[in-house]
Symmetry: C2
DNA sequence: CTGGTTCGATAAGAGATACTGATGCACCGT
DNA sequence: ACGGTGCATCAGTATCTCTTATCGAACCAG
């Protein structure tokens, strides 16, 4: 159960070949064969069927454990190294696509540090922070008001609420529901949804709202794999499906910079979301779009940055 | 970063002595010294101050990572071994103190298996299941209705809701609020609370209710470190403080076995909780006492047991 | 200050481990 | 049947990881 052996095991299963894994890891094929054999002896059970190379049931179980295990290993190492090094000279902020409200830019000015803002997928934010690829993470998601986000447990990270705002249902301007002042999820039963990494996941609604899972009614009509908000909105306008966006994402286009910080989502009523699309607040279930700041131990100038980010609003801040 | 080295490092810091750790681990003092040195060379930074033996800041960071890392290692090994072994002959059910509603006993009759029901602390339930010490876990906690419990991420476990019932505030019979039909948390501002592992943690209420943390108002007047419900109730009766219990825990004493399964907590109004104490439903915030079933992959007779446990009630069941 | 005691570091050597390179063997396509 | 591919196995060596033995610093009693 060496991390070393685990890594070769994972590589072998991923590539489906001992020789290829040996090549990738810089070993000889013989070494890889012996390492897998050692793992199997250690656990007392075969992990791989050879020819074709396929994990046995036991191997599949191990695979499920191996990835998070190796991730935590990397996180631990990075954390220790950061503690040993001096205070950071440069800061990398890893943010999921919708975790950057318009007022974020102002708040990042504070520290006299070389700062990088990097957009990564929602899944990778916590990993980047834990493994030291980033110092600070910004993660967005859907949650009940004041509820913390459910984040993957990759190590001793602290999560602090940064912002909460209303969720808007984005519909084509001509849509029958587009004139409503508010929409319940029930109103949208059977609607066609647009799925995009930049948009909030409709499936999450089900879980947060406490609805029985697996039920029909969230049809995905179109998938957009880019990150551009304008494209998302124009896809909605063109009738490819509805989507969910935080209120500030809709306003950013037109009233950019004029909004009053965190409160930008709190104006009741609909918002025009660009040519041909409008946003209508989602009133039921009562969920919000929430952004949290993720960080490890705060050292030196980082503490100032994080407290700047999480300053004024009274967002709930449960530690992890 | 061998788990081996990590383990000796943790042991050394725990015991504060190289020799003692060597003794406990069955090594010579020399070996332990070399292992710690190897870890320090690997990470490129000192981890321990010698004489007295104290972790450096970097060492403290590593310590925080080491425990969950080793736990996951054990969990992975146990999981693989279970997958490799045949279907289990015996079942250990690890339950937190309040996770055993009165109707649980009936449900455990089903499988023709040697069954052990073991009460462990709330913190250890997930660990026991993950590490293979138990096949099934029953974990209770406070949550918003239909919300899953927040459980420590020790591996790929599945959590399924088993029961939800109302929370009762237990007060002395003569208490001014004891005649009410329902109580809000606001009614109890400044009250004195009894803390016990068998009782629901008052602090959790704050988090679940979304109240700002750290605020005053939950004074602990008495701590009981035992697990006996009758003692808890009699402590309340004697005026040592209020406490929270799931409805069925109060009814168990007198109407045992007569209640109708999951619905046992749903009768509106108060319940007498034993000599000198009464329970009054907590109406605000709207939280429930929830019990979840934790399990790994379901093999053979275990599947029957778990589906028996989670059968009839329409409790929400979000996977983890 | 001195001599004894404790505890961790270090040196040297035996045994286990973990590689490489060579070879063996099963399977597969032609 | 035959060469090719791909994993297992073997032998040899380099490295690692223990043990035993010894050293040296800190502490303590006198």
């Amino acid at each position: 159960m060496d991390p070393h052996l685990l890594r070769t095991f994972v590589t072998v299963t991923r590539l489906g070949s001992f020789s290829a894994a040996a090549d990738e890891l810089g070993y000889t094929q013989s070494a890889v064969s012996q390492q897998v054999a050692a793992l199997e002896t250690d656990l007392g059970t075969p992990l791989l069927n050879r020819r074709p190379v396929m994990p046995t049931p036991a191997g599949q179980r191990l695979l499920e454990h191996a990835e998070p295990l190796l991730l935590r290993h990397r996180a631990a190492r990075a954390d220790v190294l950061r503690a040993a090094a001096g205070p950071p000279r440069r800061v990398v902020v890893a943010a999921s696509p919708l975790a950057c409200p318009p007022w974020l830019a102002r708040r990042l000015r504070g520290p006299r540090l070389e700062t990088t803002l990097r957009t990564v997928s929602r899944r990778d934010v916590a990993e980047q922070v834990a493994s030291g690829a980033a110092e600070v993470g910004l993660l967005d998601g859907i949650a009940a008001p004041s509820d913390p986000l459910r984040l993957p447990d990759v190590g001793p990270l602290t999560a602090v609420g940064m912002a909460e705002e209303r969720l808007m249902v984005v519909l084509p301007a001509g849509h029958p529901l587009a004139r409503r002042r508010g929409l319940a999820l029930a109103d949208l039963a059977g609607a066609l949804w647009l799925q995009a990494p930049a948009a909030a996941a409709v499936e999450r609604l089900r879980a947060v709202a406490g609805l029985p899972a697996g039920q029909e009614g969230f049809r995905i009509g179109f998938r957009y794999e880019g990150h551009d908000l304008r494209t998302v909105v124009s896809l909605v306008a063109a009738g490819h499906g509805l989507t969910l966006l935080p209120a500030s994402a809709l306003e950013a286009g037109q009233t950019a910079g004029q909004m009053s910080g965190q409160m930008s989502g709190q104006v009741m009523g609909q918002a025009t979301a660009g040519p041909g699309a409008v946003g209508v607040p989602l009133t039921e279930p009562r969920v919000v779009h929430r952004v949290e700041v993720l960080h490890g131990p705060l050292r030196g100038p980082l503490a100032a940055l994080v407290s700047e980010l999480t300053a004024s609003p009274a967002a709930a801040d449960p530690p992890t």
